[in-house]
Symmetry: C2
Subunit: 212 residues, 2 copies
Amino acid sequence: MDKNNKVSIPVIRRLPRYLRYVNMLESEGVKKVSSRELAELLGTTASQVRQDFNLLGGLGRQGIGYPIDELKRELEQRIYAETPLDCILIGAGSLGSAIARYLKNVAKGYNLIGIFDNSEEKVGAKLEEYTCLNIDTLSEFCINHNPVVAVLCVPTSAAEQMVPELIKCGIKNFWNFSHYNFAKLNDDVKVENVHIRESLEALSYRIKHEIN
Amino acid sequence: MDKNNKVSIPVIRRLPRYLRYVNMLESEGVKKVSSRELAELLGTTASQVRQDFNLLGGLGRQGIGYPIDELKRELEQRIYAETPLDCILIGAGSLGSAIARYLKNVAKGYNLIGIFDNSEEKVGAKLEEYTCLNIDTLSEFCINHNPVVAVLCVPTSAAEQMVPELIKCGIKNFWNFSHYNFAKLNDDVKVENVHIRESLEALSYRIKHEIN
């Protein structure tokens, strides 16, 4: 049983990383992994790994190593919703198109149900099996389809306009590729940011100043 | 003067975030910002902000608040190389295409000089002003053009094959969108990972378990 009230955001952020390494080990034919080995892969300590797994309610078994297949199943079960989460994508530019394809063809646990844009050239165009919808039809769409997650692939200024509207439409979960700052919003809203630019800038700094 | 030997990776990762908020404040017409205000935006403490700026060699002036324009200039000067870094992109799929457009049209401090793929349908195709090159011509290209950074927009298995080859071609800096794990490589290599899937999984977990 999950003891969810004790699971903090840093622990939650480590879960997908555990899953990533578990998948990697599985593809290498590995059958078992110790907390020490996982810790090494993640750059953390074995006691941290054991503590995380403990918090999740006895994930695997300490002492004898964790069977890879069991660990994978347990992690997936904790991470993914039982039925895929309906999501809409706002912004059908080049990043938005790539993310739409990713959601459709690669991502687990999500179900893309609509793509919106405000530009004349995008609205009505086909992207995968979707026809890009006019952003003006958003609230009607939300009443009919109840999307759970909005994916923001728009510039910051557009996100600033869109977010309050999306929240008004009942959406409380955001996957945010814009630089819009959700910090000021109420606690009811969940946001995961992907700040592409920031990793590029960190790399630039490290190259410039020769920091490994 | 930078005291670079003391600048750790966590500090480096905060720099682009400082810059992001400084840009945001500038666009709102703000002229000055205190370490307390910056700390609030970043979700850290004022003393952390002051310590970071100190490490960077007296960024801004403590006590009277930091002038936004000066802070922006100083941050940009530390983050971006003096001449844009030549980079190549490996993988011209939908994510690769989006990232190529981003590098060409949005990103600062980088200069995309070549796009490579191994699929017949991609090689020779136009993407922005680039003609997608055959991956077989990579080493020759690198001898002639000396790219500094490789951007990996390929599946993990392809990255596994490509990375040693890229390193052999003299490339030591990677912007990695694949799930390839660089952990085992030598210290000479700089990697910034963008793990899109992990943020999506963290969001899924938070929605499933109602954790804000």
